[in-house]
């Protein structure tokens, strides 16, 4: 699959532990390497330990409220042209309002096994920060969350939530003051305090074992969705759709369908006049925050700031597994711009009484666009198993989080004059 030239004169490795093709790896300072080894071994042991799995399952059920429902959005699907049945995986109904808690519950149990007394997190939209602050409170651990100053403004309710939960929220003033810079700052804290602090990375990014470990903790999304759609439709969906920033909600949904004849779509943030966050669509491979993956960079290999209206997608990199799934063609990656995402946000609010996160709105917008594209639908139908070609398409969308956090942003946008935002309404 990989051309020799992709391996950068032998500096990269193709395959092996922690690799997805040539992507992934562990590009971090020496100080962190022993800690990554420990984390990997503790995680691998926990994965096969019935006591760990039972404790996690209990927290998922009784604390977070799993399984989350799979809900058929009839008015939304009618607005999309009526040729598909659209099911929403309601990760927004998790405790703390997003899929992020799935990963945090798993990692806090690992942190406890490693005897750490403090948790560190980065956050963009604030959902991962809230989830980390929540599990820190639950486990009685200290918690520090790094958040870009720009994001603290646009996701202000989540800043208040984190502080209520007892976390220290540290504003990050470097770079573009968004998720990338918050992640760098969290890594610096981790290097300094590695003896007693565990870094809960919020997405399928970072050095091995994080991309695989976070995907594993998020795979509960896909496992449930697959079982639920089989119960409700009596068959697998034709397609599954999720938004992709770092890519954890998408990786979690896709994990259960990779070996099935199900079309998978990852939707990046196409942004607007100020730029985009489409690392897979428009980037090239490089190293940021510990792994080799698609990345927005300039001709000198400097990382270029991303842009998205959705703070959680506003990141110039993407998880290494997604890079591999792009190269192999198993997943189709596309993008949706700020305006399309806002339009879909409004649709779901008014048609279904569900306020989605702006991040998840990218997946909704892609679905709407796809279903209005006769040729794309015809191709998807043609690819189906014989015997099904007559019935409507069945689509699962990961509604990864709720949008109350975006109220401030929406209001601010109403106050702005025009820009690219007005066409959304």
């Amino acid at each position: 699959m990989t051309r020799p030239s992709d391996l950068k004169d032998g500096v990269l490795v193709d395959g092996g532990p922690g690799r997805f093709g040539p992507y992934g790896g562990q590009y971090v300072p020496e100080t962190l390497m022993p800690c990554l080894r420990e984390l990997e071994s503790v995680w691998l042991a926990a994965r096969g330990d019935p006591a760990f799995l039972a404790e996690l399952a209990e927290l998922q059920a009784d604390y977070s409220g799993r399984p989350t429902p799979l809900y058929r959005a009839r008015r939304f699907e009618a607005a999309c042209g009526g040729q598909a049945r659209v099911w929403l995986k309601r990760e927004d109904l998790n405790h703390t309002g997003a899929h992020k808690i799935n990963n945090c519950l798993g990692q806090v149990l690992l942190a406890r096994r490693m005897g750490k007394r403090r948790l560190i997190a980065e956050t963009g939209a604030g959902q991962h920060g809230v989830a980390t602050a929540t599990v820190a409170a639950l486990a009685g651990l200290e918690c520090t969350v790094y958040m870009g100053e720009v994001d603290m403004r646009r996701q202000e309710p989540n800043v208040q939530r984190m502080r209520l939960l007892g976390a220290e929220v540290v504003p990050v003033l470097t770079g573009a003051r968004t998720l990338k810079d918050a992640t760098s700052e969290a890594i610096r804290d981790w290097v300094t305090n590695v003896a007693h602090s565990h870094y809960i990375i919020g997405s399928t990014v970072g050095p091995h074992p994080y991309p695989t470990m976070v995907r594993d903790f998020q795979s509960v999304i896909g496992i449930e969705a697959r079982r639920q759609i089989l119960e409700k439709e009596g068959r697998l969906p034709d397609a599954a759709i999720a938004c992709v920033g770092g890519g954890s909600n998408a990786a979690g949904l896709f994990a259960a369908f990779l070996d099935d004849p199900v079309a998978l779509f990852g939707v990046e943030a196409g942004g607007g006049a100020h730029g985009h966050s489409a690392a897979l669509g428009l980037g090239t491979p490089g190293v940021l925050h510990g792994s080799y993956s698609y990345l927005l960079q300039d001709p000198d290999g400097q990382v270029v700031p991303a842009h998205s209206i959705a703070a959680g997608l506003d990141y110039p990199g993407v998880g290494p597994e997604h890079s591999h799934l792009k190269d192999t063609g198993r997943v189709t990656y596309d993008s949706v711009d700020d305006a399309e995402a806002q339009a879909a946000f409004g649709d779901l609010c008014r048609l279904e009484g569900i306020i989605p996160a702006l991040e998840s709105s990218h997946a909704l917008a892609f679905c709407r666009r796809f279903l209005r594209d006769e040729a794309a639908c015809a191709r998807l139908r043609a690819s189906r198993t014989v015997g099904l070609d007559g019935g409507p398409l069945v689509i699962v969308i990961n509604l990864s989080g709720r949008g109350d956090k975006d109220m401030h942003d929406r209001n601010e946008m109403h106050d702005q004059d025009g820009g690219g935002h007005e066409q959304a309404r």
């Binding site: 032998g10 300072p29 100080t31 022993p34 760098s184 590695v194 940021l288 960079q297 000198d300 290999g301």
Partner: protein, 276 residues
């Protein structure tokens, strides 16, 4: 042995405990950076570290982050950093170790990067986000052109890893003094002597201590248990206010001379370069 290894071995043989200063290429600006390098030459330095500014320097503290950002805004690039390194070798007869993060190296292409380093006379390369486990490939392309890939060890590195480092290390071994980023205030930690002994037991190379070494007292302590001191943030802080290349030259020379004297109390004052 490598060119860098020859130099560090000679320094050790002569009983010299060097200060290895770090400057960010293009900081505080292009000319003042060259002025600072002249000052380092004035102070008797043989070996200097030049940092290639990167947009996301995760191993660096606030001082080097800010210096990198400023240099980038002023137009510094990896190619121009290499030109600066070549100039320092050619004009000042300094031996240069280049510090740069992995992504620009990958983006240039490691083989091309190795050729660039050789052409610029660079003797060693430090890549702070390329740990031992991922380093073999880059070492393979740098070796044939006599550029050492410097190994960094940390207080968290256990004995088994230290042995693996010792097998592949060349030039000198970089001891990261503390768990943390560059310029961390505390400086050489409580356990520095024991840590240096632990490393020396498995590695015969000269040991140079960096991260948080910035005062004569800290440098003297390093000299008591290791072979050299690498000083970055503390030097850049002194260059921040330099109004012109001459001011940068004087500031760099004065600062490094003080550190050098504290590390080599028995030595004569270092020979000043000809400033005319």
């Amino acid at each position: 042995m490598s060119r860098l290894g020859d130099l560090t071995a000679a320094l050790r043989r002569d009983g010299v405990r060097p200060v290895v200063p770090f400057v960010t290429a293009g900081y505080p600006d292009d000319e003042a950076c060259r002025g600072a390098l002249r000052g380092l030459k004035d102070a008797g330095c043989r070996l200097v570290e030049i940092g290639v500014p990167f947009s996301d320097p995760v191993a660096d503290g606030p001082v080097i982050q800010a210096a990198s950002q400023r240099a980038l805004v002023q137009g510094m690039t990896p190619a121009r950093s290499l030109e600066l390194a070549a100039w320092a070798g050619r004009e000042l007869d300094l031996t240069v170790v280049l510090m740069g993060y992995l992504n620009p190296v990958l983006h240039r292409g490691p083989a091309a990067f190795a050729r660039d380093c050789a052409a610029a006379g660079v003797a060693g390369v430090i890549v702070p986000d390329l740990p031992l486990d991922e380093a073999a490939g880059l070492r393979r392309v740098l070796g044939p052109v006599d550029v050492d890939l410097i190994s960094l060890v940390a207080p968290t590195t256990d004995e088994a890893r230290l042995r693996r480092h010792a097998e592949s290390a060349a030039g000198f071994l970089y001891l990261v003094s503390t768990t943390g980023v560059t310029g961390a205030g505390a400086g050489a930690g409580d356990e520095l002597e024991a840590y240096a002994d632990r490393v020396r037991a498995v590695c015969a190379l000269p040991l140079y201590v960096g991260f948080g070494v910035g005062t004569p007292a800290q440098a003297a302590r390093v000299a008591g248990c290791a072979d050299g001191a690498i000083v970055g943030s503390a030097l850049l802080r002194r260059l921040a206010d330099a109004a012109d290349p001459d001011a940068a030259r004087t500031a760099a020379a004065t600062f490094v001379t003080d550190l050098y004297r504290s590390m080599n109390p028995e030595a004569d004052a270092p020979v000043k370069g000809d400033r005319s």
